[in-house]
């Protein structure tokens, strides 16, 4: 189980936003994806998940091993917490949801309709879905939005347990999760048509201002 990304270029709405992305994500590894707003983090994650084709380059990973956690949680407001989770579990051929419920502290909420949950509780339910997919590679887009400190801790624990079991995670986030992780920085999107190059550490905002002056 390994995801190898080779000279990948991705585009959003026909506009190239990132090019020359190279990295390897191996079993047991957590990689944090960092970059300013609009730099192409979501586009990169969607491309890796197979939701859109790359502009150039290749991703070598079995799509059946990848699960994608987007901004939207994909929850149905009129189904209960347990029904939402059980649906995704059975789609992925997993029988039990009790571990996922316990890991994200949802025990008291299983019979509540997802529409009645708070934003943070919905997020926890959305993250619990990752556990019932049984897939080793997690691609997560801002997973900690609307989570409180305790829930961020639960999430970090879940990621730790996942990679300890041979999984891997690529997480786009702006906060420090306290994980043993590598960092992958992507440059800013350049309004002058020169694309930001990835994998470099530089002061992106200065470049961005420069493009307008």
């Amino acid at each position: 189980m390994e995801m190898k990304v080779d000279n990948l270029s991705v585009a959003r709405g026909g506009v190239p936003v990132l090019e020359g992305v190279n990295f390897t994500l191996g079993a047991g590894q957590v990689m944090i994806l960092r970059g300013p707003n609009g730099s192409g983090k979501t586009t990169l994650l969607r491309t890796l998940a197979g939701l859109q084709p790359p502009l150039a380059g290749r991703v070598s990973a079995d799509p059946e091993q990848i699960t994608y956690g987007a901004h939207a949680d994909g929850l149905k407001a009129t189904l209960t917490v347990a029904e939402n989770l059980r649906f995704w579990a059975s789609v992925h051929g997993i029988d039990s949801i009790s571990a996922a419920v316990a890991d994200f502290n949802l025990q008291g909420l299983t019979h509540r309709p997802a529409g009645n949950l708070s934003a943070g509780q919905k997020r926890r339910l959305g993250l619990a879905r990752l556990l019932v997919t049984g897939r080793p590679i997690w691609l997560l887009d801002e997973p900690t939005v609307s989570l409180d400190v305790a829930s961020v801790g639960l999430f970090a624990d879940a990621v730790r347990a996942h990679v300890a079991g041979g999984g891997a995670a690529l997480i786009a986030t702006h906060i420090d999760l306290g994980l043993q992780a590598d960092t992958f920085d992507i440059g800013p999107f350049r309004a002058d048509g020169v694309r930001g190059r990835s994998g470099q550490n530089r002061d992106g905002y200065a470049d961005f201002d420069e493009a307008f002056t």
Binding site: R46, A49, G50, L51, Q52, P53, P63, E64, I66, T67, Y68, A70, H71, A72, D73, G74, L75, K76, T78, L79, E83, R86, F87, W88, S90, V91, H92, G93, R129
Partner: protein, 218 residues
């Protein structure tokens, strides 16, 4: 796949799911026609099969935009696209769920609603049979249209404009078979052509709809 079917049907039955909406619309159309046409029993019973077909078709149209739009908006469609179910399977199951909560109730109710238009004796049987064979095509063609327009804000009207012309062949042969059957003539030819349209739609359109969805998800 069964999990997806169960989920979609459960969502349709729950609050705001729209189950029964098409049926109520169908009942209202069937009630309005005698008011508009007048109480002549002979005219009503002659036009009843055609009116029932048009009414069922329009009722079917009402809930089409829900097939993919809600899943697109809450992110479920992205997750389904990365799930182990092939996209073609997702489309076919969602069309089946739409038929079970829309087409099938319309088919079961149509013979009873026919009484409002003085539908004569073998007509009840024929309207049931033709709708049973024809409505799966309506759901499948509708799912294809819904896949094309998913992601468009307020795409419902565009969806209707796209789908209604595609419904014409099913309507022509379905209503013709029902009319001929009611009049005691042989309805086999239009019935077989309509069955062919249904079989073709069910076999081919999941692939077309899945391609449209993949492009719209980019």
């Amino acid at each position: 796949m069964i999990a997806l079917l169960v989920r979609d049907m459960r969502l349709a039955m729950r609050a705001g799911g729209g189950f029964g909406l098409g049926l109520a619309f169908f009942l209202i159309v069937s009630t309005l026609v005698p008011f508009g046409v007048g109480p002549e029993a002979a005219i009503l019973s002659r036009i009843a099969p055609g009116i029932l077909w048009v009414g069922a078709l329009l009722a079917c149209l009402l809930s089409l935009d829900r097939i993919f739009q809600l899943d697109f908006e809450d992110g479920s469609l992205d997750l389904l696209a990365t799930a182990p179910i092939p996209m073609e399977g997702t489309v076919a199951i969602k069309a089946l769920a739409h038929w079970l909560v829309t087409g099938l109730p319309l088919t079961l109710a149509a013979p009873a609603f026919g009484a409002l238009m003085n539908l004569q004796s073998p007509g009840h049987y024929w309207i049931f049979v033709t709708l049973l064979i024809g409505t799966p095509a309506l759901s499948m063609i509708g799912a294809f249209g819904a896949a094309l327009t998913v992601g468009l804000k307020r795409g419902g009207l565009l969806l209707s404009l796209l789908v209604l012309p595609l419904y014409i062949p099913t309507l022509i042969f379905g209503a013709e078979a029902a009319t001929r059957g009611t009049a005691g003539l042989s309805a086999l030819t239009p019935l077989l052509i309509m069955a062919g349209i249904t079989a073709g739609s069910v076999a081919l359109l999941p692939f077309a709809a899945a391609s449209a969805l993949r492009i719209n998800l980019r």
